[in-house]
Chain length 350, copies 2
DNA sequence: CCCGATCGTCGATGCGCATCGATGATCCGG
DNA sequence: CCGGATCATCGATGCGCATCGACGATCGGG
């Protein structure tokens, strides 16, 4: 195992001083073309890579973004993977890396990675409505971006999909189809127990739309396939075509409907809240939570803060909810009395 | 934003020298109980955390494990999350962190994180049968553990679930139920295209068992629900009770069977290769790929290498495949002519 | 009661890099 | 043809920590 070359080795190889090598790499001082080339060649020849620790020590930046993730109790593994993926790629585009931190380190985890100078910024996913990490973040030396809108997040950098708008759009759509009762297949008790902030936000939006449209909502908390089946049976008990707002367990719900010979878009109206994977492909009428858009904007915010763009700092930011019509709802009586399925038209949240 | 305290600050606060603080933290030299307490209190009072970069620079260790993950084309997001979860917890238990690296950086990614001294070890997931990273790993200054068994991995640290054994066990089980033809719902073309090493290994095991038991295998590469349906129809075309080895798309397969009113364990025998999530709960007869066991052993290996346990180094290591009988296969004629369902008995791979 | 052996602590040094001030070289306008 | 400005480069310094050698204090055996 040969010792890794240092910038001093490169300097010797190129016949310049170590500081010149440093300036070639950072571009923070003008360097003649000739010197630049010589240094670049030396770097190649030695396959030099700068020592990250030394860089962090001398340069006061780590080129690392810490991401705090709820690994044990993910509401959706696929959704989480999309976030991780987008975060990592965005980081790499700026020559940064991603450090993984588990949510169960809690506030102490934030203090640790910040205190040890392990990162230049922290992203906290799945923040709760009342979250100890919010307060901790205020006192940290590195910027923190929250995915989610905590109740006491005044002045913090928060960013999320507009779950409240999604609740409104979904219920409004079903109301517009003439339904007076909507059954919501909602997050299970286990997810509720986590206190995720998006649940009350979605609920508030849905309830507001329900009041406005004089619709009754029936909430079902579904964790297992059994829960889903029960909820579906419950929805079917009422007379007429049932209306389902499916917020979780989409495959299970479709399965339950299929078992009962209920065809979405004919015998039942289904609008889903999707993570951007499953159901758009299946042509469901749905509102996507747009994980890619959210994560992209999170990283824009992160690098804005790192770069010190003061314009970037503070406040909550929402990615708007929009509905995509698919085959799981009947044509809207008002819109087009007897037209073909009008896929993929979008309707923004109010 | 107050400047972060350094070990020198702690030393001053405690009335000792900086080096004493360092020895208190590392325990590498005897320290009197009195001094230790004074220093510990000073650390608390200042909420001191050591600077990771400085530590890496002076101590030649980073307390970081790099994990290379195939984010874009995960065969299963859930399976991947389990690995990430186990890796992270194992790392934290040893006061290490996890750095995420995307697989599409390829061999260059390994060189980067090793060259920059970003980590003490690298874990590479989903290694291919012929993988450029294998050769690269040999020249690296940090140990690399591969999850998967590449063809040219001689002497490298490889570790994986025994997919070959799984292929054998699954086919043998179905053969033992009297089947002469087995339909395999296998990984889709997209997964094949990645060249993952586990596919040929599983295939080899299945084929060997098929030859031994004089069974004919029909392979179906299923990416979409449509592919699955076609495969199921194909399996049904033959006379008698069909036999299905389901290696991917388990929910889709179950759905397709349900649509066709084929009840697993009665009208069709189903044995699944599961990722440890879905199907055990559903009581399928299955072989689990044991992601938790695999990742645990990976991290044992990683820290063995970091600690310099020479006993740990080199060679491939397989987590054995075992079958768990569930309700998706009929009782075995030879075993018990007319007994109750014999759940949860295990059968090891040969 | 003295001497060698721990034991506990300190000061000095260097890890590899970024950055600052300084210096020599080159340029241009008057 | 000279002086100030610009350009390219160098040397020195310090970031915060781990580690090594040194040294005073304390202890036990003779």
């Amino acid at each position: 195992m040969p010792k890794a070359p240092t910038s001093a080795d490169v300097a010797r190889e190129a016949g310049v001083s170590q500081s010149t090598v440093s300036y070639v790499m950072s571009g923070k001082r003008p360097i003649s073309e000739k010197t630049r080339r010589r240094v670049a060649e030396a770097i190649d020849r030695l396959t030099y890579e700068p020592h990250a620790g030394a860089r962090a020590l001398a340069g006061h930046r780590t080129s690392t973004i810490a991401v705090v993730m709820p690994l044990r109790q993910a509401s959706s593994a696929e959704r989480l993977m999309i976030f991780v993926e987008e975060f990592t790629y965005a980081a790499r585009r700026r020559d940064h890396d991603v450090l993984l931190v588990t949510a169960d380190e809690g506030a102490a985890g934030l203090r640790r990675v910040a205190g040890r100078s392990l990162c230049d910024a922290i992203v906290v996913m799945e923040v709760g409505s009342h979250d100890a990490r919010v307060e901790t973040a205020r006192g940290l030396a590195v910027p923190v971006v929250f995915v989610g809108i905590p109740d006491d997040g005044e002045g913090l950098d928060c960013l999320d999909f507009d779950f409240e708008g999604a609740g409104e759009v979904i219920v409004s759509e079903l109301a517009g189809l003439g339904h007076r009762t909507v059954d919501v297949i909602g997050w299970g008790e286990d997810v509720h127990a986590q206190g995720f902030n998006y649940i009350p936000r979605f609920t508030a939006g849905a309830e507001r739309a329900a009041r406005r449209s004089d619709v009754r909502l029936r909430w079902h908390r579904a964790s297992t396939g059994e829960d889903v089946r029960r909820a579906v049976d419950n929805a079917r008990a009422a007379s007429g075509v049932p209306a389902l707002a499916v917020v979780t367990a989409i495959p299970e719900t479709l399965h339950a409907l299929s078992e009962r010979r209920l065809r979405p878009g004919r015998d039942v109206d289904v609008v889903a809240l999707t993570t951007g994977f499953v159901s758009e492909a299946d042509g469901l009428t749905n509102v996507s939570t747009r994980p890619r858009d959210v994560s992209r904007r999170v990283m824009e915010r992160v690098f804005g803060l790192i770069d010190g763009d003061l314009a970037t700092r503070g406040g909550a930011d929402l990615v708007p909810a929009s509905l995509t019509r698919g085959g799981s709802t009947r044509s809207r009586p008002a819109d087009r009395p007897a037209g073909p399925a009008d896929n993929h038209r979008e309707k923004e949240a109010s």
